[in-house]
């Protein structure tokens, strides 16, 4: 195992805490700060960097250059934006609910940062090492629904309210497939502990063998995404995660062309920036949990630990940007229909496939289960998906399209 970076970080932390052995109260404080402060700072920095990344990526996808004025390659653009946001006037609508209007951004940011605390960043690197971390993550993730509703309701603006209602409906709908596709992994790993889930994605017998090649592949081939139910589950999870994080193509709550940024309509200045930050950080968090559940977490060849986790998380975020640059926004009825009529049944079916795969692995060995799983299990999922999409097909899409206003 080559995750020496994690061990060094943990050693550093323990050394720092050890400095205050004589003052137990201070020690607790230092411990708390060590667990939270680096995470907060790093993720805030990552937020800045990712706004830059997103603008650059989107620009390149649209044959533009993107920000390139402030700093080299425009890298200081987030800083400039932040200063601009900070200095802007904070406008609060006259008849709004002042308290809730103020509380909503805070309510959105706090769960986002708590959710980040449940990510297993490395071997033993976890801010909130809880036994049921995954479940806590989903529980905390469901809190931002409330914040979005607060923002929408307290602004006293019909667009805000519409956006808030849309957000709530969407988040409730997509949380179910999200959790259900994670259930397959939790079943397979037999634990809600994030570290154990990561450990279940390493082939332990290969890692212990001492053979370099086996050690190399033992860190990769065990990832759940290479299993049929894991692959399908990853896709369901990722789609639902896009909706959960209000990312395009599911960014209906803040659809700027329809309802003028929805619940953000009445927000300006730093409150808006906080909304933005919370959204990005929850997108990171959900990308991180997808990494943990399906992409092997921090496990990876050569430099296992924190570097691999960061690489995987940012790759997933890059895919989110890529999707944003490609796909158009869904309609509301399409969105709800997709969650309830397509994603939910498939996610439930996927749980059964995962269960059968688990027993097949025990009965017939892992190779036979692997091949059989991809042939039979994935076949079942595909057939189901085909059948469902045929069932869900809108009747107007059959046959030739008729345009009313043409001719």
């Amino acid at each position: 195992m080559n995750n020496f970076i994690d061990y060094k970080l943990i050693e550093l932390g323990q050394w720092t805490v050890g400095l205050f052995n004589d003052y137990p109260v201070v020690q607790i404080l230092v411990h708390l700060l060590l667990a939270t402060l680096p995470l907060t700072l790093v993720f805030m920095g990552a937020f800045g960097f990712s706004t830059w990344l997103e603008r650059k990526g989107l620009a390149r996808i649209q044959n533009r250059l993107g920000p390139n004025r402030v700093g080299i390659f425009g890298l200081l653009q987030p800083l400039a934006d932040g200063i601009k946001m900070l200095l802007k006037e904070d406008i609060v609508p006259d008849r709004s609910d002042k308290l809730f209007h103020f509380l909503a951004p805070v309510m959105l940011m706090v769960p986002a940062f708590i959710a980040v605390g449940f990510l297993p960043l490395g071997d033993g690197l976890m801010a909130l090492p809880m036994d049921s971390a995954i479940l806590f993550f989903f529980a905390v993730g469901s809190l931002n629904t409330i914040a979005v509703f607060m923002a929408g309701w307290s602004s006293r603006n019909k667009y805000s309210l519409l956006g808030g209602m849309r957000a709530v409906a969407q988040m409730i709908s997509y949380e179910i497939p999200l959790v259900l596709s994670a259930v397959a992994v939790i079943m397979f790993s037999g634990s809600l502990n994030a570290q154990e889930i990561v450990a279940s994605q390493q082939i332990q017998s290969w890692l212990a063998s001492g053979n370099l090649v086996k050690e190399f592949f033992g860190q990769i081939l065990g990832w759940h995404i290479f299993k049929p139910w894991g692959f399908a589950g990853f896709i369901f999870f990722f789609v639902a995660a896009l909706a959960e994080a209000n990312r395009s193509p599911f960014d209906l709550p803040e659809a700027d062309s329809e309802i003028i940024a929805g619940h953000l309509t009445e927000y300006s200045g730093f409150k808006y920036a906080i909304f933005f930050m919370a959204e990005y950080i929850s997108a990171f968090a959900i990308a991180g949990i997808a990494t943990t559940l399906f992409l092997g977490g921090w496990s990876g060849p050569v430099i296992a630990g924190l570097p691999w986790f960061i690489i995987k998380m940012f790759s997933l975020f890059a895919v989110m940007i890529w999707i944003r640059g490609t796909l158009p926004r869904l309609r509301v009825d399409q969105l709800m229909g997709y969650a309830w009529k397509f994603l939910l049944p498939l996610a439930i079916l996927n749980i059964f496939v995962a269960g059968f795969y688990y027993f097949a692995e025990q009965q017939f060995g892992s190779l036979a289960a692997f091949i059989g799983g991809w042939v039979i299990g994935f076949g079942i999922l595909q057939t189901a998906a085909k059948g469902l999409s045929r069932l869900n097909k809108s009747p107007t899409l059959d046959g030739k399209r008729v345009y009313q206003l043409v001719e």
């Binding site: 049921s132 709530v168 037999g190 809600l192």
Partner: protein, 166 residues
């Protein structure tokens, strides 16, 4: 622990009182969400981690949102100052409740048993244990609950949609 308990208890009582006292319905629902989260904190203090998660997930994440949705779909949210807050005979209700509280509190205070239980000091109930217990001796109950949930869900759909069909 003591401080945490008192803080949580204060938040819980405050949330509950605000929930029944506020005129604005949305404010009331948000304060009951505060009450729910304080209760989740109390569950964590009592080492029932899983229950705390479920509390957050079910009550704050779903029930609260359902209530907010119901408010949005039914009534004007701002407190209408002309509307009556209390029902007819509210005094009787208050009286009965107060009497009940006394009935609860009197035995609690008189038969105080203040020694604490030390059995849990080395015991950390894991989710796995809970799951295994749930699946082995209580499997029938889980099945019944699942059936009940499904029935309730269908009933809710029917109740909400048949009215709109009128």
């Amino acid at each position: 622990m003591t401080v945490a308990f008192y803080i949580m208890a204060a938040i819980a009582v405050l949330g509950a009182v605000m929930a029944i006292a506020l005129r604005n319905v949305v404010h009331a629902v948000f304060s009951v969400l505060l009450f729910f989260s304080a209760l989740a904190g109390l569950f964590i203090l009592l080492l029932a981690e899983f229950i705390a998660v479920v509390q957050v997930l079910v009550y704050i994440g779903s029930v609260g949102i359902l209530m907010l949705f119901a408010i949005m779909l039914t009534t004007k949210v701002t407190g209408d100052p002309t509307r009556k807050l209390l029902s007819r005979g509210w005094a009787w209700g208050g009286l009965v409740s107060g009497a009940l509280l006394l009935a609860f509190l009197v035995p609690l205070i008189t038969q105080s048993k203040s020694e604490s239980n030390s059995q849990l000091s080395n015991f950390n109930p894991s989710v796995k244990d809970l799951g295994l217990t749930l699946m082995d001796p209580y499997f029938a109950s889980v099945g019944v609950i699942a059936l009940l949930l499904t029935a309730g869900l269908i009933a809710a759909v029917v109740a909400a949609s048949s009215a709109s069909g009128e």
